[in-house]
Subunit: 497 residues, 2 copies
Amino acid sequence: MTAQDDRDVRPSVTTGPVKGSTKVHVDVPDPAREGRVLRVPQRRVGLSDGTHIDLYDTSGPYTDPSETIDPHAGLPRLRDEWIQDRAPVNGAVTQAAYARAGVITPEMRFAAAREGVEPEFVRSEVALGRAVIPANRRHPESEPMVIGKNFLVKINANIGNSAVTSSVAEEVEKMVWATRWGADTIMDLSTGRRIHETREWILRNSPVPLGTVPIYQALERVGGDPAALSWEVYRDTVIEQAEQGVDYMTVHAGVLLRYVPLTARRVTGIVSRGGSIMAAWCLAHHRESFLYTHFEELCEILRAYDVTFSLGDGLRPGSVADANDEAQFAELRTLGELTHVARAHDVQVMIEGPGHVPMHKIAENVRLEEELCGEAPFYTLGPLATDIAPGYDHITSAIGAAQIAWHGTAMLCYVTPKEHLGLPDRDDVKTGVITYKLAAHSADLAKGHPKAQERDDALSRARFEFRWQDQFHLALDPETAQSFHDETLPAEPAKTA
Amino acid sequence: MTAQDDRDVRPSVTTGPVKGSTKVHVDVPDPAREGRVLRVPQRRVGLSDGTHIDLYDTSGPYTDPSETIDPHAGLPRLRDEWIQDRAPVNGAVTQAAYARAGVITPEMRFAAAREGVEPEFVRSEVALGRAVIPANRRHPESEPMVIGKNFLVKINANIGNSAVTSSVAEEVEKMVWATRWGADTIMDLSTGRRIHETREWILRNSPVPLGTVPIYQALERVGGDPAALSWEVYRDTVIEQAEQGVDYMTVHAGVLLRYVPLTARRVTGIVSRGGSIMAAWCLAHHRESFLYTHFEELCEILRAYDVTFSLGDGLRPGSVADANDEAQFAELRTLGELTHVARAHDVQVMIEGPGHVPMHKIAENVRLEEELCGEAPFYTLGPLATDIAPGYDHITSAIGAAQIAWHGTAMLCYVTPKEHLGLPDRDDVKTGVITYKLAAHSADLAKGHPKAQERDDALSRARFEFRWQDQFHLALDPETAQSFHDETLPAEPAKTA
């Protein structure tokens, strides 16, 4: 029996179109597969003057009323044929290998259509390592997307909890809910029991790439004692997750033994969970971690599935006081070395970044990351521009996120209002996603992305002309916009006038 | 009978200390008045290790349990003696005139103590016009503060509504509530009936400077027809408000006739209410506005009370598409000319700024304002970094606000979640204030203000050491931080461990 045969799990997921929008598909011919087209989803907002605007759509089949949704069956396996059709290049089946061999894959073509760019541009950016397409061969349900500084800024939503039985269904719904509002990828950070089953449910039903931090599950396997971890336990965990279809994995391979003492005089030491685990292991064994010493073997595993590395910043600052310090940048230099190792194996790489950084130290993070890591896509958590607003850290971090994305960060990991305080519920997930969508979009505008300003202008025109419904429908969150309006201003006639 | 004798108005204001804090006063000797001291308020956060941190405090006597609060009596007239004690300088009673004459006023000394700087530095910045102390002689209840790029970034909260009787009390409470959470000034934008009485109640009970837009009341006086406005009606309104004690006034004197056509091809035309009124007047009469042609007379009135000009940007962009266009910058050049006229009259001046500006166009706004307006304190509304998130415009604007403040904006006008959608309620006011406090503080950190990082470090240490109560008490919003924590994590022992 597979996880999805378990009838005790009854996910109730949100379906139906976003208010004011309809799902449309653009048929993109695929020259490599004669007569076949790629069906690229978009969200169409119809306006009261008869025109429409098509938006990038991350929500998968859930917002398409013509689709039958059954979480027990999972999503259609969109990429199955593409994957079966192609032979390895130099023994590799990764998007990076194909890109370097000059091959435009259907994934590249699909992602290009979503971005409104030429497929060749996507191929070229992936070949350079300046962009990644996280797309495990074992996650054929995902709709391909590209992450890189020359594309639209992406956002990730973290879900997962210390699983009790009922929560499997809740986590599936959180994934659907987050992608409904615009999450480009999901990370499953579950740590409790049923961790494998929860992930299986999420993967089979996720239209976006899924990321994990395998060390969390490995730690569960050894009873929670970091010192008891080993390469073998970790390797088996990675293979298990790769087999399931995880698209990218956070690996804290840059936490070297000699860097740990650099954190001793910090205000907030080591705050990354993965970083703490690896530092504890290094100190307990007084050697370099198995993530570092077995890195090439890890590359071979990831290469076989086309899992993308997300090289984790285990020594990221946990307070503005610790930003840009020697511990952080020493680790970044090591991540740079490992990036080049992974690329030599044709494995795709992203680099994770902070955390907590005051505004005047943000640009330096991007500059150094690009220099040391060969412009591998930067994937940052915020950063929070101040530490003094727990309860509002979606906002303190959106301030940093918008700026770091403008400077070149390719994907932003969201922060919810519960950051530092508790576990996000469904409302917090939505608030986090919308907040990060607006930060990412602000960066797209500042970077002059050709399609970005079209939506702002359409909404602003609607606002200026008191076309209230158009304004709501073009908003990132039509429901909240309308409800705030209805609270204080009365009648429907006023809104449709 | 004065407004406050009206026993039908029963303001119920929030009193008592902010959770985890106590009110303390620092006694600062005033050399000009032998044996007398200035009692400068601070908010003291006691920590569990026996230490404490003293914070800038805008909340007035309301958070001091030893004070008796009676809105019908109003606040103590703190500055009465200071004002009576001093003779005019060159016929002027403004802080600018005293500063240029080398006199350090008690207001300067008081503001310096709040900022943790030398009084002479405040005097020198005010003398240069790089800072202002909005302090009408007729508002002696206010606790003096200084606005300028070399001081802590300040925030303003707008209140006021289309007054019905019961709302007088509500607006008084909104003022008390906003200053409780950190609003440095309040603007009363009331437009309906009882506009004079509402303002009187607010002024007599406000511990912070109050700003207004007199053209709103002038328009009420002429029945709402902009073309019916005249210099005489406007002048009488300004005198009435100055007599009441309004500390600064928004004056849209830079909307010149020839600038109006520059807005014709904009996405969102003219969105400032004051700007629209003045543009309509100019077009109706086909001449320059009375605000521009009578500007020197206006300076004489403001000079007599020490009302500070807040030169309004009537042609500010209402969408990112219109940012930094010729209409906006043409008006800014005129505001620069008027700044120098006002300074020649020893009147203090701030300059209002946008609005809606994408991130890459923010720095240019500050650079030009400083160049054209002789570094007069810049006072900006946000700006919103994107237009696509109605319902979340406190956040889109905090992204812009933090950046523009880092570049040099001295005061930020808050934006609430209801912006563009409806009137803010009490919860929205708090959300707007907290959001702007964190944006302003982020800028203070980035500017390297010596006192700013102390609070971040204390909170981060508390967080790292799991001193939950200390973390809550140091937060901008202790109540929300604690409630978010309690929602998902159980017991008190865990928090006090």
